[in-house]
Each structure stands twice: as C-alpha cells, then as structure tokens.
Symmetry: C2
Subunit: 276 residues, 2 copies
C-alpha cells in the first residue's frame, strides 16, 4: 500500500554553548518543514547543545532534562503542526547522568527516548552509553526507528530496527570530517543507501553543518527510499532536505517472486555475531 509521506531532514548549524540560538535554529527548521508540508522532521544529533565540548562539565551545563526547554518547545511545535519529530538531545537524566539521546515526538506527545549505544571518540569522556537497543515507535505517519550517527556502523543494530518493523529509520547525526569525504558519495550516504536496501526500509538522516572549534562536518544528510535510492542529499551548508517517500513500501519485504529481505535471513549462520 502506497503511503507517501513528505519527510524533512534539517541540516542546521548549532553553536556549542548557544542554547537559545540552537533552540531558535531548530524552531525555524521545524516551522519551515511544516510550511513545506512535511509530516516527519529529523534534526541532527545534539542539536540543542552543539558537539565539540571543551569537557564534560561544559556538556553538563548544556544538557537538558526531558521536560527542559527544548523538548517542551518541540512538543508545542509538533502539536501545533501535527507532525512527528526526531531530534538529537544532549540529555541530563534525573540521576545526573548525561546521554547523547534522540527524542521521538508525535503531535505534542513524547513517545520515546533513545540513548546512543555506540559512542564516538570524545563522546566517551562525556556521555554514558545507553543500555537499551533503539526503539521502533508507532506514530501517526508509520513506525519510526532511531539510530544516532556512529550507531550506523553497526548493521546488526539497524537490522534489529527492521526486524522490529520500522518503516523508516531516522538518523540524527554529526559526522565530523576526519579524512577527505569519499567520492562519488560520502561513506555516510553510501551506508544509508546500503542500510535501506538490505533492510527494505526508508532512511532519513540529518547531519549538522557549520564550523565548530576546528571541526567541519560532512553534511551527510539524505533521504533514502526503501530500495536504497538517495532521493535527495546535500553536502554543504544549512539546508532543509525534503522528499516524498513511500513509507508503505517498507512493509512489504518481498523481492520478486521468491525472495524476502528478512525471511531469507539464516539466523543459525549468524550466531558468531553474538560472541563478545
């Protein structure tokens, strides 16, 4: 069943420490996406705080609880717009722990929080890794799975989201440029296409942009359909990617007459993968 949904990925440029400015940037992106008819909006990883923290204390000063100003505002904006939002949040948990999280908000309701389970580099000095696999959440536009940035280097995790029934995997990300991006596409976009293709699931990835404390970003935002086709992508600068995606296609895993992307799996051959 065709279930075309307009998806928006906002490639914004947070500034570390500028909480109010970051909130304004997110607000503006959400407004623009709603005006363009988007029903699912994805914002980058850590979009409330920025990424390149001087130390854990700086991150702590910028982290917010789930009833803090960012989530509160996002709830109001998604309620008014009737949209689903997945956004990266520098989260301060009740017990004081810091998590690199993503929230899933549907029409004003906070339906889920995912705490990044695979931390990259200096994130390990700041955040506690999440203890729970990412969720797949039933929303008004379909089933939304979540992964954050370096999580996408773990296809086992992404496969789990497909097995749990995700129609679309929303990926808030911050991809620093470490070496010259690969040609003809940054690896982060090739991985997004591969993820979509092998799982027959859509992918909506929102990277950040903007120079921050010596770090530049790949700008690997992209929207991919359930066969792996990159519908739109943009490397440089602030932008709002928009694409109409048939999320319904992800419900049918058949590939031709005799194959099925998930049923053809042979779990008995993959047991090695569970060794520590």
């Amino acid at each position: 069943m065709n279930r075309a949904v307009k998806v928006a990925c906002a490639q914004v440029a947070p500034i570390v420490g500028d909480a109010e400015g970051n909130r304004a940037r997110a607000r503006e992106a959400i407004h623009s996406a709603i005006a363009a008819g988007a029903r699912l909006i994805v914002l980058p990883e850590l979009c409330n705080s920025g990424y390149v923290f001087a130390d854990a204390e700086e991150a702590r000063g910028l982290a917010e609880p789930l009833d803090g100003p960012s989530v509160t505002e996002w709830r109001a904006l998604t309620r008014a717009g009737g949209v689903v939002l997945v956004a990266g949040l520098c989260e301060l948990a009740d017990d004081g722990t810091l998590f690199n999280s993503a929230v899933v908000i549907d029409g004003g309701e906070l339906l889920g929080v995912y705490r990044k389970t695979h931390l990259w580099d200096a994130e390990k000095l700041v955040f506690t890794p999440g203890a729970v696999s990412p969720p797949v959440i039933e929303t008004a536009i379909g089933r939304v799975g979540v992964a954050i940035c370096y999580d996408t280097c773990f296809p086992e995790l992404l496969r789990g989201l497909a097995l749990e029934g995700a129609d679309v995997i929303a990926v808030p990300t911050n991809s620093p440029i470490l070496t010259p991006p690969l040609e003809p596409l940054p690896i982060e976009l090739m991985m997004a296409s591969a993820t979509a293709h092998v799982n027959h699931v859509c992918v909506a990835q929102a990277d950040r942009t903007g120079h921050e404390r010596g770090v530049d970003w790949v700008g690997a935002s992209g929207i991919v359909d359930a066969v792996g086709r990159l519908l739109t992508a943009k490397a440089d600068g602030e932008t709002l990617l928009l694409a109409e995606v048939d999320l319904g296609a992800a419900r049918d895993k058949r590939l031709g007459e005799r194959n099925d992307a998930l049923a053809d799996r042979r779990p008995e051959l993959y047991e090695l993968n569970l060794r520590g």
Copy 2:
C-alpha cells in the same frame, strides 16, 4: 603493517552452456591478471556455467565436481602463477546435489569451498543452499573471506567474516539488472563500500557482464580498501580491474584514539537478530 597486494577482479562474460569457452575466458583472465602482477584474482559467480539456466537439468549438465576440468585447470594456473584465486563454480557434489559455490585456490591447492547460503530467485529451483557459513581462509596473501552475490544483502554474514579475521572479502557475483541501476553508483558498489567501512576490511567483487537469455548485468565489479574507498570499478563490458590494496590495514580495527570497529560492538543488543 602495510601489506600491499595487487588484486584483480575479472569482469568476464560467460555464455551459458559453453563450458569450454567459459574455461578459456577464465584462463585468459587469470593469465592477464598474473601478467599484471596480481596476487589475488577474483572471478564471477558461476563462471564455469553461465547463469540463466533453462531448468535444473541444464544446470546439472554444466555442473562440475571439485576435481572436474575447471578446478583442475585453476589449480594448475595458480600453481604456475603463484597466486590466490577465488572463483564461482556451478558445483556437482559427490551425492549429486548442485551448489552455487566459490572455490579458494592458493598456489595449486584447493583450500576451501563455500556453498552459497542465500539463494536468489530461480537459483532456488536449481541449487541447494549451503548449510555452513562462509569460511575465512589463511592464504599466502592474507586471510580471505568469501561471499557470493545476494549474500551481501546480509550484513550479519559479512560481519561474521570480519569477526573471523578476514583481511579481504572476495565476492564472486552475478548482478542482473532488475531496475535502472542507482545513481551515482549501483547499489551493489555502495554496499561493497559500506561493508568495507563498517568492518574495516577490504572487498574485491567480480561481477559478470554479457547479455544472456534476455538478462543484462550491472557490472558491479569493484575493489574497495579497508576504509570503504572504491579504488576502481567498472560498469560495462569485459574488463580486468586491478588495484594495489593494503590488506594489512584490515588487521588494525582501531578508529582513532578511542574506537574500534569490532570491539565497539555490543552483542547483547543484537540478540533479536538471532530470532528466526
């Protein structure tokens, strides 16, 4: 430790039923690769038989045992050339079973046989799926893992090869054109790059070419280094891809100061993947 090895992927055009011609095409490709200095040579899936069988009986007539003419010749050629060969074979097992196999031959010795575990489309009418995960084989040029075509849609299988220590995954493939190939790269090459990147392993993929009974082929041959960089690829026509690849890079899974492509895995989060 840098361990540069010249790798060759031969994109040849087998003709279904032309056993002698197919053997000649393979021989010529192996000779050319040896002359060019290759130490690892990969030939496509089912390169002795062709792919588009009229029925199982035709396939049976073209299948060969492991001491048949193709493997016997490949042993002689690799002994003379001092090379490692991974080649697709339409295999007739001792008990009469047909397998879509790949052989690994090192300097004349048949070191391994992998029987494709994920069969595509009409292959299901002809072949029995292999019962065993693909091997990783210690050869003169390093540890060679094997996967065949549709197997690459199962990242769990490829991860298993990396966990078993593969330096390079050799992929004999036959990728029929089903829909217009994706831009800017066929999905089969984006998947090869993604596989290399997330596992920090090299990939050498040899696709076939040549029109066969109404089917054309993507020509998705490519050689990828351990960060996912496509060193060389060629879509159309018969060709011998050559690239110098540092197979030693695959032994070091560290990513910067604080990460490791395999050690960062969290197997306890992936258990869902083993449900049938």
